[in-house]
């Protein structure tokens, strides 16, 4: 093997974390969850107001699976230059397992007052994060089914109907490969609740009905696109008549024009929301100055005024993780978009259905793996 690299530290990394950084820092933000669409405005706002804390900020995006490898490599080299990571559950959990993240809680609990006002399901999501992550945005996600009324008048509304419909309309039902797709993943995790599986948290042993269902459903599925966008496009152009969606994926693509405005959604009987959240984490090895700056930034982001920006254009609908952030306080652009493309029925659906936290990372990887081998890979033999 190679000798351990020298690397160079970017300042003190272990000492006391001051309230304010000694001097303004450059902050590199890595987003592996698409979270910046919601929070970049908040960060920019903070930087504009506090140039003495953060002098410059750079943003970069990467697919979630790469996150841990990247951070680990930087930590191995003893030169971590990513100051803030915005991630979903998957990246967060992978990092926790490898011990990549700094423990923010309870040490800095008092600096992050906003955490006390989390919505209830957001608080549940926060529990998943242990002591490492701070929930910055939250949404109940799905699973939902989406369709165009022009092509499909009455959509199936329960699992059996879905199967029957797919059988009757082969190749017209689509969902994307779960490992690459939020809605696909939510659908996968939501099915055990809908089908009443033995243990919805144990994909290896407790998901018999789900796997059987997916396998059967798979016979009528033409192929599994490698991204949600593709399923949206297919819905829009008529290749697919029924796809899997989430609240955000329902609203935002219609705002963007990827999907016609007339598209509708329907829940599946007996579904539980499989919630989702984005977290902010700090990799171990960042300097105390950066830590201080990021903590201040996070506190700022959890204020209701800033949280209101999370409405965005419905991308993560609703978005805010803290209570009592009304649409009215959101930027005008958000208000307009959601007024035009949002759905009043969501409030009732969110209120009226139970919420569940998603699978932990290990189980999720196991589920993906099994899905890849048995459901996705199964297409090889048929095709």
């Amino acid at each position: 093997g190679a000798p351990d690299g020298p690397g160079k530290s970017t300042g003190d990394t272990t000492g006391e974390v001051p309230q304010r950084p000694g001097r303004a820092v450059t902050l590199n933000v890595l987003d592996v969850a698409g979270n910046l669409q919601l929070t970049q405005g908040m960060i920019d706002d903070f930087v504009a107001k506090n140039p003495d804390m953060i002098s410059r900020v750079t943003y970069s995006k990467a697919p979630a699976p790469e996150l841990a490898g990247k951070i680990k490599a930087q930590q191995g080299a003893n030169r971590v230059d990513i100051g803030l990571v915005l991630t979903g559950v998957d990246g967060l959990a992978a990092g926790i397992e490898q011990g990549l993240w700094l423990d923010l809680l309870p040490t800095f609990q008092d600096r992050l007052g906003g955490m006390r006002d989390y919505l209830e399901p957001a608080a549940a999501m926060q529990k998943l994060a242990g002591n490492s992550g701070v929930t910055v945005t939250y949404y109940p996600s799905g699973p939902l089914l989406e369709y165009l009324p022009a092509r499909l008048a009455t959509p199936p509304t329960d699992a059996q109907a879905l199967l029957d419909w797919a059988r009757a309309n082969p190749r017209k039902f689509q969902y994307a490969r779960p490992a690459n797709s939020g809605p696909g993943r939510t659908f996968l995790m939501g099915l055990p609740y809908i089908l009443g599986d033995a243990n919805p948290k144990d994909p290896s042993a407790g998901w018999d009905k789900t796997w059987a269902f997916l396998k059967e459903l798979g016979q009528y599925v033409d192929y599994y696109p490698s991204g949600t966008t593709e399923t949206m496009k297919n819905l829009a152009n008529g290749t697919a008549h029924l796809i899997v969606s989430t609240t955000g994926w329902d609203i935002n693509p219609r705002v963007l024009g990827t999907v016609p405005k007339e598209a509708r959604i329907t829940p599946i009987d007996g579904f539980h929301w499989v919630t989702d959240a984005h977290y902010a984490v700090l990799p171990k090895g960042v300097s105390t100055d950066t830590q201080a700056a990021v903590l201040a930034l996070l506190a700022f982001m959890l204020t209701p005024e800033q949280q209101a920006k999370a409405y965005d254009e419905g991308y993560f609908y609703p978005g805010p993780a803290v209570k009592d952030v009304g649409l009215a306080s959101a930027p005008q652009k958000s208000q307009d978009a959601i007024r035009e493309f949002g759905r009043p029925e969501y409030d009732a659906l969110i209120a009226g259905n139970p919420t569940e936290v998603p699978l932990d990372a290990k189980s999720l990887v196991a589920a993906f793996n099994r899905w890849d081998r048995e459901i996705g890979g199964g297409k090889v033999k048929q095709g």
């Binding site: 093997g1 190679a2 699976p65 790469e66 841990a68 490898g69 680990k72 992978a94 490898q98 490969r177 490992a179 690459n180 033409d222 192929y223 599994y224 696109p225 490698s226 593709e230 496009k233 297919n234 152009n237 008529g238 290749t239 990887v365 899905w371 890849d372 081998r373 459901i375 996705g376 890979g377 199964g378 297409k379 090889v380 095709g383």
Partner: protein
């Protein structure tokens, strides 16, 4: 380098080395050598040794793991099934076209220039373009539907064919330009000589041009094959990365960056390199059976 040793008194060791072609000028080679050793050979052997230090099990357990798992093992076959036909098609299609275009004619530069364009597209735009163009409601299917050649869109993306087409789009121009340059390396008077000896164009091609082109074709095949074999982004973007286009580089990538199992990833990478080198070795062995000397052209 210091093989001076005792010799005839008149033969200075420098002379003796110079006689064998060793002198100070070789220093110019040093930076490149240092570079290739540090950045290629060392990491390569590091990876090799890493592949024998799996997280658990004996030194070969990662290799055993790969070959005992049909899902993983299958990636070799999947990759070959994509790369071999694509490389073959690229080379074979290039031959008649290059053969037509080897002379000088107006617009030749335009055609060759146009053919270079796909090289600049990059995998991502190609993927994006293929998704748009060959997709179920893309122009291609629309034309087929409009002309009633099919009643239902043909599916050409998110499967084997999507990857195949992306390899053709990026690989064919490359193969064509290479074949063209090999062809123009063959002295045109050879064919004219064959003509005066009574050979019609078919036999001129099969008896003279083709045998002389064969080594070039083999080389071209190897290079296009290398490109096709390491297909990665398009396998994800236009293929079906869970199924029929789960190529071996994807397996290596997932091992490294999704499972963080570097030894296993290294093992897969080594297997990948090995399989590729085997194919190349076979082709080059076949190539050596052809005449490979000068072909008298401007090559």
């Amino acid at each position: 380098m210091s093989a001076a040793g005792p010799g005839r008194p008149s033969a200075h060791w420098r002379h003796r080395l110079a006689e064998r072609g060793i002198d100070r000028q070789l220093i110019l080679l040093v930076p490149a050598l240092v570079f290739v050793i540090a950045l290629f050979l060392y990491p390569f052997f590091y990876g090799l040794s890493l592949s024998f230090q799996p997280t658990d099990g004996g030194p070969f357990s990662d290799y055993a793991r790969f070959f005992s798992d049909a899902y993983e093992r299958g990636t070799i076959w999947i990759t070959l099934r994509i790369a071999l036909p694509a490389a073959l098609l690229n080379v074979l299609a290039a031959v008649p076209i290059a053969y037509r275009m080897r002379g000088r004619f107006r617009g030749k530069r335009l055609v060759t220039t146009l053919l270079v364009v796909p090289i600049t597209l990059g995998t991502v735009l190609t993927a994006q373009g293929l998704l748009n163009f060959l997709g179920p409601t893309g122009w291609f299917n629309r034309i087929l539907l409009a002309t009633h050649l099919v009643d239902e869109p043909v599916r050409l993306t998110h499967n084997y064919w999507g990857v195949f087409f992306s390899l053709v789009i990026t690989g064919f121009p490359f193969a064509f330009l290479l074949v063209l340059s090999y062809l123009s390396g063959i002295d045109p008077t050879l064919e004219r000589a064959a003509a005066t000896l009574g050979a019609d164009w078919r036999r001129r091609f099969t008896r003279i041009t083709l045998p002389l082109l064969m080594p070039g074709l083999a080389t071209t095949f190897c290079l296009t094959f290398v490109l096709a074999f390491s297909v990665f982004p398009s396998a994800v973007l236009v293929g079906n990365p869970a199924g029929e286009t789960r190529v071996i580089s994807l397996a290596a990538y997932q091992a490294a960056y999704e499972q963080y199992d570097y030894p296993y990833a290294s093992a897969i990478a080594m297997i990948m390199g090995f399989v590729e080198l085997v194919v190349i070795a076979v082709v080059l062995a076949a190539r050596s059976r052809f005449y490979t000397g000068a072909t008298g052209g401007k090559g």
